[in-house]
């Protein structure tokens, strides 16, 4: 018979540790968890971690002072997975602009100059010159972005800093700094956990999780059907493959860029393979034209969509809106977010053409409506019960439903954030996410001379709205690097050193 109180296997979290908001070195040692010291630790290992390490390496921090803990092998892996699912293979162009370069903190030369040189295509420069007035914004190919990050990652010795593992929690340390609890890959060490003791921790764990539209989630669970009702962020090639074998109908939900991408794929396939695909597009908010409270705040729109080049108005990354938002607190900040927020997609000439052809050809139908429920018809297809604002009820029948709303789950769905909210002193901002300072320190979590930073989507709702973009992650990284310089962890970066570092970048010389 097993003894009534089986001791936890050595090297795992103990109830004592789990229940204590602050840990001492002795508590960790008593649990038998191996401990490593590293001054700066970034958690996530995606784009946010990469640009932060890139800044700090360029500012002068040696690799021996920093580690990145991640469950992926390359910084672009998760991003590439999500873009590929949502129909941006390496050859397609992403959303952000020419000067948003995660591999180059100066943004010069921009991607457009690089691709012009490589493809010998001066037309890119003409587009850059005339964007967004006579042309769509010039944006880089996904492949260009990944290749240049790979080059930079090698240059800064990124892989010397990578530690594979899943971070379980970050707890404050008595005496200053933090303990980061990591579950290493199975079989890689003698204990279930290892702990990193650091003065500075940075969290860039991306999206806490995906959330499905409730009516679609209900259908999926009830019928155990994950094939016909899909989310655009999960692999769903089967939809396009099916449509190549026989004519079918697809319902699209959502009015953002992912809906635009999926539409483009459907239209492209229709053209390429001579298909007869019918598309019903349901917008919960149907934008009929320019919208906004007054002439100084009016966004273009039409045919259901709100049009905007990037996910926020361009000046949030450096102009007027960035300066304004930086001063706002609480309800005022929330109101400003509301004023400039909302789902939107870029106005791209190719997409407009395809939709026009679809409307006049009678195979693309955009409607306003809220879906009450989805049911299975006797022939196995999917009936959506759609109620529009003017009371009309439609019941489109489809072979597939693609959810392009891309709703993000609450931050508490992520274990690290849930733990921080419960034990770490962190709290929520006016949009319900993690409240951070202007320099991206997580408010309420200071520990002695240690600092906990966070960037990316989890911090949306703060003094800076553009957080979940390459450029936003770089802005956060710069604020963090400058804050670390103020705290004496790294040298300040002035114009001369910056210029000499830029030359190193240009000649691909290791930092």
């Amino acid at each position: 018979m097993a003894p009534p109180n089986t001791p936890a296997p050595a090297g795992d979290l103990t109830p004592e540790l789990l229940g204590a908001p602050e840990w001492t070195d002795q508590m960790v040692a008593a649990a038998g968890i191996p401990m490593y010291d590293i001054p700066f630790l970034t958690v996530g290992g995606g784009m946010g971690s990469f640009v932060t390490l890139d800044y700090l390496r360029v500012y002068g921090v040696p690799t021996s002072q920093m580690r990145v803990i991640s469950n992926i092998d390359t910084p672009w892996q998760t991003y590439e997975f999500l873009t590929r699912c949502s129909q941006i293979p390496r050859s397609e162009r992403i959303r952000s602009d020419s000067a948003s370069r995660p591999d180059n903190l100066w943004g010069f030369p921009s991607y457009a100059l690089q691709e012009t040189w490589k493809d010998k295509t001066p037309a890119y420069l003409w587009q850059l010159l005339t964007e967004p007035l006579l042309n769509d914004y010039w944006t880089p190919r996904a492949g260009t972005v990944f290749e240049s990050i790979e080059r930079e990652a090698k240059r800064i010795s990124y892989w010397d800093m990578l530690v594979k593992g899943q971070v379980r929690m970050v707890r404050r340390r008595v005496g200053g700094g933090y303990f980061t609890v990591v579950t290493p890959p199975e079989g890689s060490g003698p204990t279930k956990r290892v702990i990193f003791r650091s003065r500075f921790v940075h969290l860039a764990v991306g999206y806490p999780g995906l959330k499905f539209l409730p009516d679609l989630q209900e259908f999926r669970t009830k019928h155990n059907d994950y094939q016909h009702v899909v989310n655009a962020y999960e692999p769903h090639e089967q939809v396009y493959e099916f449509l190549k074998t026989r004519p079918g109908t697809v319902v699209i939900r959502g009015g953002g860029i992912v809906a635009s991408r999926v539409l483009q794929r459907l239209f492209d396939d229709r053209e390429k393979y001579g298909l007869k695909t019918q598309i019903v597009h349901i917008f919960r908010t149907f934008v009929a034209g320019s919208h906004g409270p007054h002439i100084w705040a009016r966004r273009k729109g039409g045919n259901g969509w709100a049009y905007q080049g990037f996910n926020y108005p361009k000046s949030v990354w450096g102009g007027q809106l960035k300066a304004e938002m930086r001063k706002l607190e609480g309800a005022e900040r929330a109101a400003k977010y509301k004023e400039m927020g909302g789902t939107n997609t870029p106005y791209r000439r190719r997409w407009q053409e395809q939709m026009r052809a679809g409307r006049s050809g009678g195979y693309y139908h955009a409607v306003q409506g809220t879906v009450d429920r989805v049911e299975r018809a006797p022939d196995g297809r999917l009936v959506s019960y759609v109620r529009s604002n003017d009371g009309i009820v439609r019941e489109p029948v489809a072979d597939y439903i693609i959810d392009c709303t891309g709703l993000e789950a609450d931050i508490s769905e992520h274990r690290i954030f849930a733990d921080l909210l419960q034990y770490g002193g962190a709290f929520r901002n006016p949009l319900g996410r993690l409240e951070v300072e202007r320099h991206f320190e997580v408010k309420g979590t200071a520990s002695g001379d240690g600092v906990l930073y966070a960037s990316g989507s989890a911090t949306l709702g703060g003094y800076f709205p553009g957080v979940d973009t390459f450029l936003g992650l770089q802005i956060a990284a710069q604020e963090i690097a400058d804050d670390l310089a103020r705290r004496g962890f790294v040298r300040k970066m002035g114009p001369l050193r910056s210029t000499s570092q830029w030359f190193k970048w240009a000649f691909n010389t290791p930092v």
């Binding site: 850059l128 964007e131 108005p313 450096g318 007027q320 300066a323």
Partner: protein, 145 residues
């Protein structure tokens, strides 16, 4: 760089004082149609830059106002280039009319060559190389200080 009002003004003054001055020093000796002592021509050309700076503050206020009609509160690259036309014309007529009497009238070819070359150089620098020494500039709406 997407400017704020102070950022616009600072960037203009900074670029005139650096790129503008350097380009002027290089170009004045070879400007078409100008005559007189080189020293006097330099002095005059630098005064033209000064006029671009002073008038520019008023222009930037106008641009800032016009920018408010744009949802994104941005200022497309092309605007930064094309504004050389109204600014050049206004300054040219002011000089011609003698309204700015501390600057000697400049022959049209010399004025337009000087003005355009300086403008285009400043515009090119503002659209990229400026970010190399000043890594915070583009995130601060063009403020240098």
């Amino acid at each position: 760089m997407v400017p704020t009002l102070f950022g616009r003004i600072q960037t203009r003054l900074f670029l005139l004082a650096t790129v503008g001055v350097v380009v002027t020093l290089l170009i004045v000796p070879v400007l078409p149609g100008s005559s007189g002592a080189l020293g006097a021509r330099y002095a005059n050309a630098l005064l033209v830059l000064l006029a671009v700076a002073v008038l520019g503050i008023v222009w930037e206020l106008i641009y800032h106002f016009l920018m408010q009609f744009r949802w994104e509160k941005d200022w497309p690259t092309l605007f930064g280039l094309l504004t050389l036309v109204p600014e050049g014309l206004l300054l040219y007529f002011l000089l011609r009319s003698g309204a700015v009497d501390f600057i000697d009238p400049v022959p049209p070819a010399a004025f337009w060559t000087h003005f355009t070359v300086v403008w285009v150089c400043m515009w090119l620098v503002a659209n990229g190389p400026m970010r190399v020494p000043f890594i915070r500039w583009r995130f601060r709406g063009g403020r240098v200080l």
